[in-house]
């Protein structure tokens, strides 16, 4: 859908430009009906598409604007300077509206409202007859009350012949609201007289709907004129809402097939009377509760603060639930244990559901990249095609928000330094003239991956190396692996561009990208092939606030290691670790460097005789963390450590354990990075 939405946006921009043109033409020929007709058509297309692709504001806006031109077309309004002014302003306004996103919706909606008021003024000045335009301004008015209707439907005997099926029409009716459908059999002849091609059935329907009588009539609009259709409003209230009325109505209809509408009306009046008595009773009981909006709403807009609140409460609940589970475990109460287990189950469900509310598809940010690429291809004179894959992949809204900037930067880099400067250069290398940038999002394990791939020049590793030596970052005799060389790109102030351009050479560098990604507890990696192109891969956790972790203990301190980092756990005699050369331990026949957290964190108590090493993957290498003991898996609700612990960023936060004590949540990437800087060369 997102792709179509994008397509429509392009189309809409063209339509808006068309509209602009047409209005300017109209200025010269104010009475030219053919131009008015075209204006009308353009707006109609805008309206149709925007409604289809979820641009609600444009939909609303053009609907009203269309009213003006509808009147002009019908000769009820004259084209005036005023109207042309408004339309031209509307063109600018539409250009803003087409950029509608969740983020700017409120702002645009407000601007929209203001503009609509202006249009209304013009409409009212010129023609006081239009009174229903206010309808779309206020949702209150649009939501109509659910009323009850009676429909008698007797298809003509030849109903089937033109391919119609009465059951489909009944289906359509039922979709308008709630319905009681009672068949009428009286026209069915004796078995011998039945002609299977003829329709003998009829139906009485009691329908409650908020759609209005026209919607009901519309169902039958394409029905042949020989069929008998009768629609009557029975009541202004929803009679079917009450089960007992429903029963009475259904029975009445079943018993009296050819019921006279008057009889139904008197029955209805009785029911209404009972209803209003009940109503007053209810109102007395709870005068505060608002009048229920009967219309069903399939989705609602909720402010993200409310969502954040909800998530906070669920996090609290997860914490308390852990406390309860621990208590139940310790007390072996036959009644408490199943309750606690049930609560644990429900909490988990609730947690997942609530967190999924905040997940939004990656498609939400792709629009901005698309625009960036379009803009840059114009500025740089490079022809680039932007492709997306996996835009339905869902990420935490907060992650998406924080991800946009770094990804924009990566794309800028690809556009600027990746894609070749000239088409000739591409063609000479056997590539299509049009460059390509691919945005790809996918899940793997408990992580989300975002990849930006370009089919450009690729990165020259020798050049990176030269530059690093030039800058004194490495000495000429140091040998670096391919990966280590590429990692140099993430060092502050390192850029391979020959000249600083105003696009990507200035301001933020890849070091900032890396920092921002690592603030999200993510990792970023570059892969490249000279002459073929580069890929930047960002690995991110699924959510920011709850971590599935491994709870471990060192001395009396509990720590949580995120499970998505953990590879394997090994057990060692303390002496063995103590005597390990260069801190390298043997794990599954492989030498793995291990960080002794007990030592690293300056715990002074003597270590236990047997220690555990948790291995994890870090930049294609394994690295171990030595700890005292594994406690178990733990769902950690991440709490910030606060500004007082700014220097301790190798902890992404803390979490409250079931017994109420606090465990620290490790950020393994930062820990290893910090450690690597000081102590060992990873994978050396």
């Amino acid at each position: 859908m997102e792709a179509f939405r994008e397509k429509f946006k392009e189309e809409a921009n063209e339509l808006i430009s068309d509209l602009e043109q047409l209005v300017l033409q109209l200025e010269g020929n104010k009475t030219d009906q053919s131009i008015v007709e075209q204006v009308f058509r353009v707006m109609h297309s805008l309206k149709g598409g925007s409604a289809m692709f979820g641009f609600t504001l444009i939909d609303q806006f053009t609907h009203l604007l269309e009213n003006i031109y509808d009147k002009i077309r019908a000769g009820e309004l004259q084209v005036t300077e005023d109207i042309l002014d408004i339309t031209l302003n509307a063109v600018d306004h539409l250009r803003r509206l087409i950029e509608e996103t969740d983020a700017n919706f409120a702002e645009l909606a407000a601007a929209n409202k203001k503009f609509i008021v202006r249009i209304e003024q013009v409409l009212n000045q010129n023609s006081p007859k239009i009174e229903n335009v206010r309808l779309i301004l206020d949702d209150e008015d649009v939501i109509r009350k659910t009323k009850t209707y009676f429909i008698s439907f007797d298809p003509s005997p030849d109903f089937f012949q033109d391919g119609s099926n009465p059951l489909f029409l009944l289906d359509d009716l039922c979709q308008l609201g709630e319905a009681v459908v009672v068949p009428k059999y009286s026209r069915i002849p004796k078995l011998n007289d039945i002609d299977p091609t003829e329709c003998y059935m009829g139906w009485n329907v009691i329908l409650t709907t908020a759609e209005g009588i026209n919607a009901i009539m519309d169902v039958f609009i394409f029905t042949n004129n020989r069929s008998k259709i009768e629609v009557q409003k029975l009541s202004d209230i929803n009679l079917l809402a009450d089960k007992s009325y429903r029963k009475i109505l259904a029975e009445t209809l079943a018993n009296k097939e050819s019921i006279v509408i008057e009889a139904l009306h008197s029955l209805t009046q009785d029911l209404e009377k009972i209803h209003s008595e009940n109503e007053t009773l209810i109102q007395r009981k709870s005068s505060a509760s608002g009048h229920g909006r009967d219309q069903t709403i399939s989705s609602i807009r909720v402010s993200s603060e409310k969502l954040d609140d909800l998530i906070n409460w669920v996090s609290e609940l997860v914490t308390i639930q852990a406390q309860l589970s621990l208590f139940a475990q310790q007390n072996h109460d036959a009644e408490l244990t199943p309750i606690s287990e049930e609560i644990e189950k429900i909490t988990r469900r609730l947690r997942d559901d609530v967190f999924s509310i905040r997940l939004i598809p990656a498609a939400n940010m792709v629009t901005r990249f698309q625009r960036l690429i379009r803009e840059l291809s114009q500025n740089l004179g490079k022809d680039v095609l932007f492709e997306t894959k996996g835009t339905e992949t869902e990420l935490d809204k907060n992650i998406i928000e924080m991800l946009v900037d770094p990804v924009m930067h990566i794309i800028r880099n690809s556009m600027d330094h990746g894609i070749e400067d000239t088409i000739d250069e591409r063609v000479a290398n056997g590539k299509p003239a049009t460059g390509k940038i691919l945005f790809n999002a996918y899940y793997s394990g408990t992580n989300v991956y975002i990849q930006i791939t370009d089919d450009g020049k690729g990165i020259d590793l020798a050049k990176i190396r030269r530059k690093a030596i030039e800058k004194g970052i490495i000495s000429p005799e140091v040998e670096l692996s391919r990966k280590e060389t590429l990692d140099l790109l993430f060092l502050p102030g390192f850029t391979t561009a020959q000249s600083i351009t105003n696009l990507s050479g200035r301001g933020v560098g890849m070091d900032v990208v890396k920092r921002k990604i690592s603030d999200l507890r993510g990792q970023v990696e570059i892969e490249t092939e000279l002459g073929k192109g580069s890929t930047v891969t960002i690995k991110l956790p699924l959510t920011l606030s709850i971590i599935d972790g491994l709870l471990v203990r060192i001395d009396d301190t509990h720590m949580v290691i995120p499970l998505n980092s953990v590879y394997k756990v090994y057990e060692y005699q303390h002496e063995k670790l103590e005597h390990a050369i260069n801190n390298l331990i043997l794990a599954d026949d492989e030498r793995v460097p291990a960080i002794n957290l007990r030592k690293h964190f300056n715990f002074e108590t003597p270590p236990p005789a047997i220690e555990r090493v948790v291995t994890m993957e870090y930049n294609d290498h394994y690295i171990g963390l030595t700890i005292d003991e594994i406690v178990g898996e733990y769902q950690a609700v991440l709490k910030p450590l606060g500004t007082m612990f700014k220097g301790q960023d190798f902890f992404s936060g803390a979490t409250i354990l079931g017994d109420g004590s606090v465990a620290l949540v490790l950020d393994p990437n930062k820990l290893v990075e910090q450690f690597a800087k000081n102590e060992i060369k990873i994978g050396g």
Partner: protein, 121 residues
């Protein structure tokens, strides 16, 4: 099972989203960008169903239907309107011109398919 369906709409994105929906449901889809274009498709090809917009340049939906209904093999082919227009008067006009049904934009893919299944047999 799949039907041959002609979509007529001047908006590319609408054409795309409709054809995407229909093709996913296993139908074979042709796309025309206005009434005149649509008529060129009818030559020598038999469609099971035609879905058209109402307001289009050159030849609008109602004029298109009138032209289609004179073609002998298209006398009884279901023709659906897919439009934002929902005025009853327009619908009556469409019915008189020979339309089989009316789908209001914006549509939900399932509803579109449902509507198609009802008319195309």
């Amino acid at each position: 099972m799949g039907k041959k369906i002609l979509i007529v709409d001047d908006s590319e994105s609408i054409r795309e989203v409709v054809s995407f929906t229909l093709e996913n449901a296993g139908h074979e889809v042709s796309k025309a960008f206005d009434g005149v274009d649509a008529l060129t498709y009818l030559d020598g090809k038999k469609y099971d169903l035609i879905i058209t917009d109402l307001h289009m340049p050159n030849l609008n939906g109602i004029e298109l239907i009138r032209k289609i209904r004179v073609i002998e093999e298209y006398k009884f082919i279901p023709i659906l309107f897919l439009t934002t227009e929902s005025q009853t008067a327009k619908k009556m006009e469409a019915k008189d011109a020979g339309a089989t049904g009316w789908i209001v934009k914006p549509f939900v893919p399932e509803k579109l398919l449902e509507a198609i299944n009802k008319v195309a047999r």
